[in-house]
Symmetry: C2
Subunit: 273 residues, 2 copies
């Protein structure tokens, strides 16, 4: 049933080729015959939305996800409103680019009140769902590793993401599973199975020993200790058939020529994902 | 009921004054009138077990914990046996020093098999309990932060520690709660309450933004974002009345004179713990 020898589901998350602008990344995917791409909003802004959309469509690339929305926790009403407005623009971009999902990240703590920040995340999703619906956009909640709980995402486990996503239809709100963020979770396989049709994205990379850097220290698949294929099989078994994004924040990788990185990505994708 | 203006429960974990040997740490606690100390096995070995025990008793210090036992995951039978033997020695030292508990840490991954490593941890505890009982020593399972799951501890949540500890009497196996390792957990307060009389140790420090270093980047209480007093109140409410260890791995702190560090520890303990 499962096909581990095909690139049909392979997606390049732009974070993997950080030095490439959107045009270069699109061209790189076309040359490497990678059918999907995950786009970052800062890269879209550099080129412009219309031009980005045209570039992607011209080469027939499909967009797996737009990174990122969310980041709701805020210390003032003004800040909250600014964040909601920014998320509306992100939803419009996701619609324009025909992406599978807008990836929603928790956001860090504006103060010591963790419970309140988590409540704000939940409320942010609720606030945006009607707007996303009218644009035909799915919101994909991606829990980040607990080491980012303070400064990047108060949403840190699949159970937490599920608690929110499961109160919506999977056409509206789902969950994005990134092996780097969830591999350590004692409840992982149980939660993947429970997520089921709410899985709307799947990201891969590896956990290196030692971790060279908290933010830019992810590894190429196969270089670390994550049981990537086991997790992929569990995600597939839960019913997910969509793109698999390779998202690797790693300074050493960024220092290599993009085309060479894509060749390694393809090789390791077949071997380890 | 609760007394936040007393040093009766304050314990200095030796990791906070890394440059001091055991003799210097004991003298420092005596000068600062800190009644408890948490001892590291490498520091005990430096001075010798008998002499360490004598030093501690002579000034009337109480020993909150010995760090550390555990570290069971291993790739061969020989390695496993070596680790079990090492843990037996740690239990003997804990008995000799009259410490409240031997702190058991998970250990890292010898290979990619996370489930098997976790099974080994559970088996290691089971193997040692009878030996610990005959020495009157409690084993305290301390889950570490998930960012240490690969290289230091496959036990990363309170739920996981509880699953093991709860199959033993709290006189034999308990749980050590360190705010730095568990503060991010969405299930934290529920798990603390569930741990109940199995809580046999409580450690404090703070989570800094940004984290200057994964290993040596903990903060002094009050310098970070952890709701320390809220967690302490929950731990007290669960029935814990024992020592509260200040355990801060921080290079900047280590570069300061020990006596000055203890003064700050005492001040922040009253303000934030």
């Amino acid at each position: 049933m499962e096909n581990f020898q095909s690139f049909d589901r392979l997606s390049l998350n732009q974070a993997t080729t950080q030095r490439w602008n959107l045009r270069e990344a699109v061209d790189g995917c076309a040359r490497a015959e990678i059918p999907w791409i995950g786009l970052w909003r800062d890269k879209i802004a550099e080129i412009g939305l219309k031009e980005s959309s045209k570039l992607v469509r011209d080469v027939g690339l499909k967009v797996s996800g737009i990174i990122k929305g969310g980041m709701f926790p805020s210390a003032s009403v003004g800040e909250w409103q600014r964040i909601i407005d920014e998320n509306r623009r992100a939803i419009e971009e996701t619609a324009e680019l025909g992406a599978n999902a807008l990836v929603m990240v928790g956001g860090g703590l504006p103060n010591k009140d963790l419970d309140y920040a988590r409540k704000q995340f939940k409320e942010g999703i609720a606030e945006l769902v009607p707007f996303a619906q009218t644009h035909g956009v799915k919101l994909g909640i991606e829990p980040l590793h607990p080491m980012f709980a303070a400064d990047r995402s108060v949403v840190v486990t699949l159970a937490q993401a599920n608690e929110i996503a499961k109160s919506y239809h999977p056409n509206d709100v789902g969950v994005v599973i990134d092996v780097y963020h969830v591999w350590w979770d004692p409840d992982l396989y149980n939660q993947i199975s429970y997520t089921g049709e709410h899985i709307i994205g799947f990201h891969v990379s590896d956990w290196l020993i030692p971790t060279p850097d908290m933010l830019k220290g992810r590894g190429m698949m196969g270089d670390g200790i994550i049981e990537i294929r086991r997790i992929r099989k569990a995600v597939d078994a839960a019913g997910y058939t969509g793109p698999i994004e390779v998202e690797i924040f790693n300074q050493q990788l960024w220092d290599q020529p993009g085309d060479e990185v894509l060749e390694v990505v393809k090789k390791r994708f077949l071997e380890h994902v």
